[in-house]
Structure formats: C-alpha cells, structure tokens
C-alpha cells in the first residue's frame, strides 16, 4: 500500500499580507501580519487581560485567521499539537499572561519531548510592571525555558516581525519543537513603522541539521551489507523529516525487518510485509526479543527512550549500532553507536539506499514470524477475538480497523487504551497516529483530536480515550460544540485507571490504591454539549454503534464498556531487558 503524504491537504501557499510595507501598525497587527505570511490558518487560543490588544486586532483579521476558542489553555496547546502532527505545519496557540501562560506548560513539555513544532504567543503585563508582582504577572520565560526549544520576551513592537520570523524558523527546522514568545501589553499596543515581514532562514548560532558525512554513509552501508541479521528500528524522525518515501525505498531494497516506536507508527503502512511491529514495553514479541539477537541495529530518527530499550545495559549489546539522527545530542546519549549517521534522514536515507545490497533475509524474517505466531496464540487472539462475555479494548480497535480500513487518524490518550490502540490500529498513512508519547500526558487526546481534525479536514479523526483521561480535559467538548468540528470519540471505559491498576496488580500485590475511578454519564455529558452519543456493553452492538458513530454528520461520543481487569501484554517489566518480555 502506498504511504501518502497528507501535508498537501493544508494549503502550503502563504497568503498575501494584508498591510503593505511601510505603514504604521501596532505590535498586535504586526504579529497577525506575520502569521498570515507564515501561512497560518488556524489559531487555538483563549483571551485574557494581557493579550487583549492582540485579540482586538484579531477582530479585524477574522476572515484571514480562523481562531478557535478553546475551554482551557491546556486544551489550546494540545489542539495546536494535534494540528501540527497531522498537518506537518506549525501549530499556533494564544494565551494570556499568568495562569493562561502557566496552563500551557504541560503542552510545551509534551511538544518538547515529542518534537512538535509550535509557536505559542502569550500576553504579558506592561513592561514597566515586570517584576512588580502585577496582576496576572508570571515569569513565563523562566518557567518555560526547560520545556521550549526557544523562547523570547518582546517588550518593544519593533522587534515583533523579526522575532516571529525566528520563532517559526526555529519551531519547524531541524528537530522541531515548541517556541514561546511572550509579548508585553505595551508592545502589543505600540505603533511603529512596519517595514514588511521577512521570513527567517538563517540564525548564525543555530545549526538545524548537521552536514552529512559521506564516509559515515559508506561505513554504515558496509556494515549493513555484511550483516546476517540486521534490524531496523524507526521513530518519528522519519515522519518529521517527511522521509516516508525515502525510508520505504531503503527498507524495501535492503529487505530488513523493521519495527517502530509508538511515534513512528504509520511511516510505512502497518501491513507492509517488512513491518514487523512495535517496539518497547508493550510492543510486539519478536521486535523486542530479536533486538538482543540482531547483529546490526539500524536506528532511524528515534532516541532510544527507556520505554523502548528497557534495561539499557542489557540492550542490544551484541549488535553494532548505526544511528541516523538529525540531532547530534541524541547520538550516543543512551546507546553507543558504531556508526553515527548525522543528518536529515531525507538526505541520508537515499544515500544509504544507493549503497546497500538488495537482499531478502528470508531466514531472519522467519524468526520474526515465529515470534509473531507465538504472540498471536498467547496474546493477540485472546485480545482481538475474546470468548469472554465482556468486551476487550483490542476487539474495539479491530472492529474500527474493519470499518475505517486503516484510513482514519487515531488520536489516543495515555494508558492501557493507548498501548492497545497503538498495537492493533491499522495505519495506512503517515501522520495518522497522534498520541502523547514521551510525556504521557493524560487528557491529551480530546483537545489533540480537535486540532488533528483542523489539520487534516478531509480525514476521519477518531479519538480513543480512557475513562480517566477523558475526565481530565472533557471541558473541550465545549470547543467541539462551538466550532462544530467533526471528531469521533470512543471512550474505552474499564472503570479503572487501568495502566496503574495493571502495575499494582503485577508489582504491588494487587493493592489497588486509588485507581478505582467513578465516571459521570458520559453520554449525558456529551448531550449537554449537544453532541450525540451512545453507550454499549454488548459486543453484538459494537459494529452498528461504530458505524453509527462514523456515519454521523458531526461529532459523536461512543462509550464502550470493556472488561475491568484486563492487562496489556506483552510487557517488558521496568528494569528488565527487552528479551525478558512477558507474554502473561
């Protein structure tokens, strides 16, 4: 199946600026002009005292910039993340000073660890009030420094065009990340001679990507060609670098079994014959066990997170490691590489593909198939085709796959349902799996799904959320109601904070400490926001309920009651090696 690049759906053509150069503009107007030239179409935000001049200017830009009023700034930034992840563009978020800005922090940390390009604009008190504990004053720059790729405080309107240009350049270039620009109220109001907006493409102290070293490519190719049991593990870098085609070409020529991290899912289709499954704590059996059997490990655009590696001193010790990454700080950070291939994988992969031999590695693939057979027998079959009365999360995902045919964008929250969805969802296309990978932010999915839909309006967006996570950001149902955006919501309700309960069962002698969570009537809650919904607890109603949800014009909430005490397996227990993965 072809991997499609979805970014095309959102117009890449920058709109014409409204104001001609050399006019007098306020800082706020200059900001909005900058957003228009940067091709921004959608802003997620929430007004407040210190950002009022920007909102006042926005009143006149309503036809050019689509502002979505969220219900909480955290919802705003997660929506920005969802938008960035599905569209490939920079997500833009507005918030006011003080509490507005501090409410962004979780989303910034999430975007930082998951390399999501964002530009967040926060209002700030008047410059002359800085440091006086003024109303709604918070030291936003210092609070957000550890969780931003770059941040900057503007106190003078004349700085705005250049700073916004830098913000967009930094957010999207190299390894993407969140940028926060804090603009004092006086700078928003201040009029100045606007000389037009120039996009930034160079900052002398910033090197977004290292120069590709041909000798490392040659060394890597030689290593790969000599390998008997090579193994590719890929991450989100392939997607962020828009290198899906280059990656597919490399995998197909080299014939090497390839496994993905949670955020890498969908870079090549789930059912691609060389795709052997998911890595990590709840990943597939073969990819985990055989990590410790391969002779050459080729890591592409991934960062060896501890959830992927398990116990590091027993991780792939037998293997020579080729690590392709755009961020030099990732090389040798967790796993020592034999050949570091610095650079943008969109450039390095084709160079590597040209030098690798065409192979099939049939015997080696058979080993993966062997492990898959065992996993199907002992885990997957029970999860997808259960014989119990109660439904499993896995069978819901399986049904969903059958109806959406793998074409939907799946947005997940954090916990058991997330691991089950990532394990079993079918992804035909890139930019289809939106989840909080690194930070594990509960409450991410509902607002992220809203943003995901704005970022890919022609695609179906299904949010899959647990009963716990849904209650963290369920106020964003209001955003859905008011914007009229079409998001399908599935709550997999097991009446527990399931993942913590699973750990308590396995590692804390079933001492269920505060994981028994009560929920409201979710369908009634949705109804209060004029969103239709349905709850089912019998599997015979599952296909019709899913069809009803997907064919409904507009958003729909489907609550599925699933078995209470199911565990996600396989599992690499914390502190164990990947080869010690448990099937039960």
């Amino acid at each position: 199946m072809e991997t499609q690049t979805i970014t095309q759906e959102v117009s890449e053509v920058a709109a014409e600026p409204v104001k001609s150069p050399t006019t007098v503009l306020s800082g706020s107007e200059a900001l909005l002009e900058a957003l228009i030239v940067e091709g921004v179409e959608t802003i997620f935000g929430y007004p407040g005292g210190a950002i009022m001049p920007i909102y006042d200017a926005l009143y006149d830009y309503n036809d050019k910039l689509n502002h979505i009023l969220v219900r909480h700034e955290q919802g705003g930034i997660h929506a920005g993340q969802g938008y960035a992840r599905t569209s490939g563009k920079v997500g833009v978020v507005f918030a006011t000073s003080g509490p507005g800005a501090t409410n962004l922090v979780t989303g910034l940390a999430d975007a930082q660890i998951d390399s999501t390009p964002l530009v967040c604009i926060t209002g700030q008190v008047f410059a002359h009030l800085l440091g006086t504990d003024a109303f709604q004053e918070t030291d936003v720059i210092n609070i957000t420094t550890p969780v931003t790729k770059w941040n900057y405080q503007v106190t003078d309107a004349t700085e705005i065009p250049e700073v916004i240009a830098k913000a967009f350049y930094i957010a999207k270039s190299g390894r993407p990340g969140p940028v926060l620009i804090d603009i004092t109220k006086n700078a928003q109001i201040q009029k100045f001679d606007y000389a037009g907006y120039k996009k930034c493409d160079h900052i002398r102290s910033y090197r977004p990507k290292p120069i590709v070293r041909p000798q490392y490519i040659q060394e890597a190719a030689a290593l790969i060609n000599s390998a008997k049991k090579p193994f590719i593990i890929w991450g989100q870098g392939v997607i962020l670098g828009s290198a899906e085609q280059e990656f597919k070409a490399f995998v197909e020529k080299s014939g090497i079994p390839s496994a993905w991290t949670v955020l890498g899912a969908g870079a090549i289709p789930t059912d691609h014959p060389l795709n052997v499954g998911m890595l990590g704590m709840h990943g597939n059996y073969g990819p985990n066990v055989l990590t410790n059997e391969c002779d050459v490990l080729i890591a592409i655009g991934m960062r060896f997170d501890d959830r992927v590696t398990g116990r590091l001193d027993k991780y792939a010790k037998q293997a020579k490691v080729v690590h392709l990454d755009i961020d030099p700080a990732e090389i040798d950070k967790n796993v020592k590489s034999t050949v570091p291939v610095w650079g943008d994988c969109k450039e390095t992969l084709p160079m590597l593909t040209a030098l690798v031999d065409k192979k099939e590695h049939t015997e080696w693939h058979d080993k993966f198939k062997d492990y898959t057979r065992q996993e199907v027998e002992q885990v997957i079959e029970k999860e997808l085709n259960p014989t119990t009365d109660e439904m499993t999360m896995g069978e819901v995902i399986k049904q969903l796959n059958e109806i959406t045919k793998g074409e939907a964008i799946i947005v997940t929250d954090v916990g058991q349902h997330q691991m089950v969805a990532c394990r079993y969802a079918q992804f035909n296309n890139t930019r289809s799996n939106v989840t909080s990978g690194g930070l594990g932010t509960m409450g991410f999915a509902l607002p992220a799904a809203i943003g995901a839909k704005f970022g890919a309006q022609n695609r179906t967006v299904v949010a899959i959320i647990g009963d716990g996570g849904f209650q963290m950001t369920c106020q964003e149902l209001g955003t859905i109601m008011q914007s009229g955006i079409d998001v399908k919501i599935i709550i997999l309700n097991n009446r527990f904070l399931g993942m913590v309960r699973q750990w308590q069962e396995l590692f804390n002698s079933r001492r269920y400490s505060f994981v028994d969570i009560e929920s409201p009537d979710f369908v009634a809650l949705a109804a209060a926001y004029r969103i239709p919904g349905k709850v089912i607890d019998d599997r015979k109603n599952l296909p019709s309920a899913l069809n009803e949800m997907l064919s409904n014009k507009g958003s729909f909430l489907l609550e599925v009651m699933v078995t209470k005490e199911n565990n996600v397996f396989p599992m690499v227990p914390q502190g164990c090696s990947v080869s010690e993965i448990r099937l039960k």
Partner: protein, 201 residues
C-alpha cells in the same frame, strides 16, 4: 549508563554564545536538571563584539561532560562548545584581600609577602590595604591562611578563566561566525568529524 565516581575529574567547559537575556538560565538548567553542581562559572564578552564566552567548571566523568556539551551546543543561541581537562588548559582565578593597614605594616614583612605570593597592592590607604593575587585555588587559598592571623577584613575570589593550550584560531573561527554565512568547517560541530577524539582539538 552508570558512571563511577572515580572517573570524575574537573572539566573546563568553554561556551561561545550570543549575548542574550535568559541564556545563562538556559545553560545553567542543563546542569541543574541533572543535579550537577557548577563549581565555577565565568561569563564575559569575548574579543568579538556581541559574542560572550562562558567558562564553566564542573567535576564529572568525561562521558557525562560530552553529553552535557552536546546539550549546550544544541541551544539556539549557543555558537560553540568545547570541553577540556585541567591538563589541557591554563587557568587563573583572581583574588582580592582587604586587611588593616596598621596591622599589616606593623607585623608583616609586606615585601616578602608580596614576593612569595606573587601578590600586588591594589589600594593603599591609611585604614586599609587591598592585595590582589591570581593563581590556582591552592595559591589564592594560601594567601588567605597567611593573612588570616593579621585580621583579614574581607576576601573575594573570581570564577576561573581558562585559556586552551591547543586552541588554534578560535579568534579566526569566531570572526567566521560573525559573517552571515559561516564556512562549512565552521558551521559544523567539530566533534562530528573526529569520532573518538571529540573535542580534544
């Protein structure tokens, strides 16, 4: 990977940066996040206008230091980072000592004190005298213990500044950075080329 304490030694980290508010914090939190103490920190303008030079001293293993330097170099406004052991650099700290002129003139052979400690008098007043010396920590400490019995009034010591023995053309490189489009040899992280000989110049 766990590093043993006995691998630890003093490292001098040299950072060239833009002159930007907040950058000190951005660099400092790279250490504090990992609960690493900064033993000494000096920051001042370099020989090139608008470029600042940090000298940071920490006690850590080389592996940790290498990772830290990469994290620092990753910051948008950081131009270049190098690290060196004490053997690779020549360093000085400057110390000032304020003592009572009466006591010192009466009880100490000032001439010998100045000679033996490489010190000099910065201020000489009726009521107090300020000595200055530069050197390694032990040397500046030594003068404290000498002056302590004679009523040391106040003491202050600067952070370490270090110059790199093997440096060849840092000044030239910095000037390259000044140009809008740096040459390829300059734009690149030096250690990318050198594999294991990372940062050793």
């Amino acid at each position: 990977m766990e590093t043993q304490d006995n691998d630890k030694q003093e490292f001098n980290i040299t950072v060239y940066t833009e002159n930007q508010i907040g950058l000190l914090n951005r660099i400092a939190i790279i250490f504090t996040r990992r609960k690493i103490n900064i033993d000494s920190l000096n920051t001042s303008p370099s020989e090139i206008e608008s470029i600042h030079r940090f000298n940071i001293v920490i006690t850590e293993s080389e592996e940790v230091v290498r990772k830290l330097t990469r994290q620092i170099e990753k910051q948008v406004e950081v131009l270049k980072v190098y690290y060196h052991t004490n053997a690779d650099v020549i360093w000085q700290e400057l110390a000032l000592y304020k003592v009572s002129t009466d006591v010192i003139a009466e009880k100490v052979s000032v001439e010998r004190l100045l000679r033996e400690n490489g010190a000099r008098v910065v201020v000489l007043r009726k009521d107090y005298t300020v000595f200055e010396t530069t050197g390694h920590r032990e040397e500046t400490d030594n003068l404290i213990s000498i002056l302590q019995p004679f009523g040391l009034i106040e003491f202050v010591r600067s952070a370490r500044v270090a110059i790199i023995k093997d440096s060849d053309g840092f000044n030239r490189k910095l000037r390259e950075f000044e140009r809008l489009e740096p040459g390829e040899d300059v734009i690149e992280n030096e250690y990318l080329n050198k594999g294991q000989k990372v940062f050793t110049m």
